[in-house]
Amino acid sequence: MAEQPREPRGTSHLVRPYGDTTGDGMVQVSFTLPIPHSKAAEGAAAQLAHKMGIEPAMVVHAKPMGEGFTFFVVYGRVNHLVDLSQVEVVERDYPLLTPKEVNAAVRRSLRRRLVVVGGCIGTDAHTVGIDAILNIKGFAGEKGLEYYRELKVVNLGAQVSVPDLVARAQAEKADAVLVSQVVTQRDAHLLNTREMAAAFREAYPAERRPLLIVGGPRFDETMAGELGVDRVFSRGTTPAEVASYLVHRLASGPDAGRMAS
C-alpha cells in the first residue's frame, strides 16, 4: 500500500478514519450472518467487508450464535474519504442565552411567564430526559427550566397519554409543549410523536397551537417537519439550549406571542 501524501494538519477538508496512524483508514465493524460457522462463512464475512469498502479486511473473530447464525468482528482499512465541507447537520440557529437573558427576554416580550408543559408520552417510563431538561437539578452542571424565574414549568412525568397532554396544555395555556421519548422499540418514539403532533393540530387552531418540541437520544434533528413538530432535540441537549430556543421562537420580539405557523 503506497504511502498517502499528507497535507498539513488542519488545512484539509478530507479525512480518513484513524486507527493508530494518520491516514491509516482503519475501522472495526461487527455483524451477524444467517449462516452456520465454517471457513466459507468467514469468507462470506470478508466478502461483505470488502463490499463495504474495507480492503484488506481481517476477520478477527467468528463465533456461532444460536442455530445457523455466526457473529463476526472485522478490522480493516476503508478506502473512503470523508469530505468535511460536505457534512450536513442542524447547527444551532439561535443565540445561546444565560438564564438571566432568558428571563429578561420573556419579561420584555410576553409581560408574563412563559408556560412550558412537559412529559413522557406513551408507555415510556424513562423520565431521565425530560427531568434533565425540566427539573431544577438539571443536566451537565446546568440548572433545568424550573430554575428560570420567568418560565412556568408543569412536568407531567412518565406515561402521559396524548389526550391528557393536550388537556393539560390547554388548561395551563401552554406556550410550549416538551415531550421526551427514550424507548424506541419498533419506532415507538416516532409514532408517538406523530400522534402527539396530530392531536395538537386537531385540538388547536393553527395560530394558537403551542410550540411542539420533542427530544430523546435516538431522534434525528432533521426530522422535525416529517414528525409534525417544531423542533427535535437529540442527545446531549442542555436546558440552556432548550430555553434559548423557546425565547428565539416565542419571546424574541416585543410583540411575540404564540407562534404563527
Binding site: M65, F71, A125, N155, V183, Q185, R235
Partner: protein, 528 residues
C-alpha cells in the same frame, strides 16, 4: 453475634423496627383493601367461575356482565350474588348464556335475600371453587414437570425478554433464548395494555413494542416452552405482568395457564401509571392471593424508582418499597420463596465508589430478605450508545449479582437504549453472565465486607434512612383522613409524583363494599 443480621452484621433491633414500621404503614391499607371491591376483582371472580370469551366487538363477556350487574344493582354488593341468583331464577342455563342475554338487555339483576341469597351464595362458591381447583391442578402440574424434566441448574436464574408484538414470532424467539441459556422468559406486554380496563381475547399478532397479554397467548407460549423444557431437560419458566387496571384478571389467567412468575408491585401502577391508589391496593391484594394459591413467584418493581430518581439519593426508597411489598405479599399469603423483590444497578458510573455503593445496596437487600429470591435488574439509565462501556458495566452488574446471591438475574444488554436486542447482543450478554458466574460465582463464600468499612457503613445508612422514611410515612396525614400511606403517596413522598387517593385512572371502577357484599374467591382464598 446473635444481635446482628447477615454478612453486613446489621443491627437486629433496627431490622425489626423497619419491619414493624412497614406493618404499621401497611395494615391500614389492607383494611382499605378489605372495605372495597373493583370491577377487575369482580371480573376475575367470573373468570374463575369459567366465564371467558368476548363479544363481536372484542369486549370480554366478563366486562359485559359486570357492567350489566353494576347498572342494575351497583357494584358494592359484588356481582356473585346477583349473577348466581339470576341463574337460579332460570334467566339462563349457563354463565356464558347469562352474559349474552344480559348484554342484549334481556336480564334484570337483583340482590337476593334470605334463603335465596344463601342458595346463590353456595352456588357461586361452588363455581368459583372449581376454577381454583384448576389453578391447584396447574400448580401440581408444574411441580410434577420440574420433578420429571429437572429444574434450572443454578442460581441466579437467567431472565431474558422477548417482545415482538406477534405471539407467533415470540414463540420461536423464546425457544431460541431458552436454548441459549435462559431459565426464565418474560414476554413484554404491548404498549399501554396496563391502561386498558379489559383483557384482549385470543392469539394476537399486532402488539406494539410488546405482545398483548391474553389467556390464549399465555397458553400458546406455555405449551411451546413445555416442549423446549423437555428438549433441554430443565423447566423453563414463563413470566408476564399482573399490573395495570386488570391486575386481578391477569393473576387468574396466569394461574389457569401455569405461568410461573408475574410482575406484581404494590405501588408501581400508582406512581408510574397514575392508576388510582385504592384501585391498585384492592387489585393488588386479590392478585397476590391468587398468586399465593397458584405457586407463582412475584417480581416487584423497585428498579423503577431508580429510573426516575438518583440511585444513591433514592436507595432508601427501594428498601422502603421492598419492605412494604414484603408486608403486603405476606399478608396476602405469599411465602418467602415467592418474593422476587426488585432492585437495580443504576448508580451513575462516574460517581466515585459506585461499585462499592451498588454492592452495599445489593447486600442490604440480600441480608434483609435472606429467603427471598430477589430480582436483580441491569443498568439502563447510564447505558449510552457506547456499547463497549455498557458491556463492562453489565459485567460489573453481573459481579454484584454473583457476590450477593441474587435469585433472578435480568440479563443486561450492551445495546440498552440503542436498539431492541439483536441476536448477537443477546449472545454477548449471556457470555458476559457465564464468564462472571464461572469465574466468580462462588466468590460470595470468601467475600466479607470489612467490619465497619465503607460497605457496612453505607448499608447501615440506607437502612437508617429507610426507617426515617417509614416513620415519616406512618405520621403522614391529610384532610380527608386517609390512611397514612395514601396521604404520603398524595403529597409526593415517593419521588416527584403526587397521586391523591381520589384521583387517577380506574377510580370509577372502585366501590366501597356493602354489608351484603359477597365474593366467593376472596372467601376461599382467605379461608383455606
Amino acid at each position: 453475634m446473635s444481635k446482628s443480621v447477615g454478612r453486613l452484621e446489621l443491627d437486629r433491633d433496627q431490622v425489626r423496627q423497619a419491619r414493624r414500621l412497614a406493618r404499621q404503614v401497611g395494615k391500614p391499607i389492607v383494611k382499605v383493601a378489605k372495605q372495597h371491591t373493583t370491577v377487575s376483582v369482580e371480573r376475575a371472580t367470573l373468570r374463575l367461575a369459567g366465564l371467558a370469551g368476548a363479544d363481536v366487538d372484542g369486549i370480554p363477556w366478563v366486562n359485559r356482565l359486570v357492567d350489566c350487574v353494576r347498572g342494575d344493582v351497583g357494584l358494592e354488593h359484588g356481582v356473585s350474588l346477583p349473577v348466581w341468583d339470576a341463574l337460579r331464577r332460570g334467566e339462563a342455563a349457563t354463565l356464558d348464556e347469562l352474559a349474552q342475554k344480559a348484554a342484549a338487555g334481556s336480564v334484570r339483576f337483583e340482590m337476593p335475600e334470605g334463603r335465596e341469597a344463601t342458595r346463590a351464595r353456595s352456588e357461586a362458591r361452588r363455581a368459583v371453587h372449581s376454577g381454583l381447583k384448576k389453578v391447584d391442578a396447574r400448580r401440581r402440574e408444574r411441580e410434577r414437570m420440574i420433578a420429571r424434566v429437572g429444574d434450572a441448574p443454578r442460581k441466579p436464574w437467567i431472565y431474558l425478554i422477548v417482545a415482538t408484538g406477534d405471539i407467533y414470532e415470540d414463540i420461536p424467539q423464546a425457544q431460541a433464548a431458552a436454548r441459549e441459556g435462559a431459565d426464565v422468559i418474560a414476554v413484554i406486554r404491548s404498549t399501554g395494555q396496563s391502561l386498558l380496563d379489559y383483557v384482549p381475547e385470543g392469539a394476537t399478532r399486532e402488539g406494539f413494542a410488546g405482545t398483548y397479554a391474553t389467556q390464549e397467548n399465555f397458553r400458546l407460549m406455555r405449551a411451546a416452552l413445555d416442549e423446549t423444557s423437555k428438549e433441554l431437560g430443565r423447566y423453563v419458566r414463563l413470566t408476564n405482568y399482573a399490573s395495570g387496571l386488570c391486575m386481578p384478571e391477569m393473576a387468574v389467567m396466569a394461574g389457569l395457564e401455569r405461568l410461573d412468575m408475574m410482575l406484581n408491585d404494590s405501588m408501581y401502577g400508582i406512581l408510574f401509571r397514575d392508576i388510582n391508589p385504592i384501585r391498585t391496593f384492592v387489585d393488588q391484594r386479590f392478585s397476590r392471593q391468587v398468586h399465593a394459591r397458584a405457586g407463582i413467584i412475584i417480581n416487584t418493581g423497585e428498579d423503577n424508582y431508580l429510573t426516575t430518581a438518583d440511585a444513591v439519593e433514592a436507595a432508601h426508597t427501594v428498601t422502603t418499597s421492598q419492605l412494604l411489598n414484603e408486608y403486603f405479599a405476606k399478608e396476602a399469603g405469599l411465602e418467602d420463596w415467592q418474593l422476587g423483590l426488585g432492585h437495580a444497578f443504576e448508580i451513575d458510573p462516574d460517581v466515585p465508589d459506585s461499585f462499592r455503593l451498588e454492592l452495599a445496596h445489593a447486600m442490604l437487600a440480600r441480608d434483609l430478605f435472606p429467603d427471598a429470591p430477589l430480582k436483580w435488574m441491569p443498568p439502563t439509565r447510564h447505558m449510552t450508545g457506547d456499547v463497549f462501556r455498557g458491556y463492562l458495566l453489565d459485567g460489573f452488574f453481573n459481579l454484584v449479582g454473583a457476590l450477593t446471591g441474587q435469585g433472578i438475574l435480568l440479563v443486561g444488554m450492551m445495546t440498552e437504549a440503542v436498539v431492541t436486542p439483536w441476536i448477537s447482543d443477546r449472545d454477548l450478554a449471556l457470555q458476559n453472565v457465564r464468564y462472571v458466574m464461572n469465574a466468580a460465582g462462588n466468590l460470595h463464600e470468601d467475600f466479607r465486607p470489612a467490619k465497619d468499612g465503607f460497605i457496612e457503613r453505607r448499608a447501615r445508612q440506607v437502612l437508617t434512612e429507610t426507617i426515617e422514611l417509614l416513620e415519616d410515612i406512618a405520621l403522614d396525614t391529610d384532610d380527608a383522613g386517609h390512611a397514612p400511606l395514601l396521604a404520603a403517596i398524595a403529597d409526593g413522598t415517593f419521588g416527584l409524583m403526587k397521586r391523591p387517593a381520589d384521583a387517577g385512572k380506574g377510580l370509577d371502577g372502585v366501590a366501597r363494599t356493602s354489608s351484603a357484599y359477597y365474593n366467593p374467591a376472596t372467601e376461599i382464598l382467605e379461608g383455606d
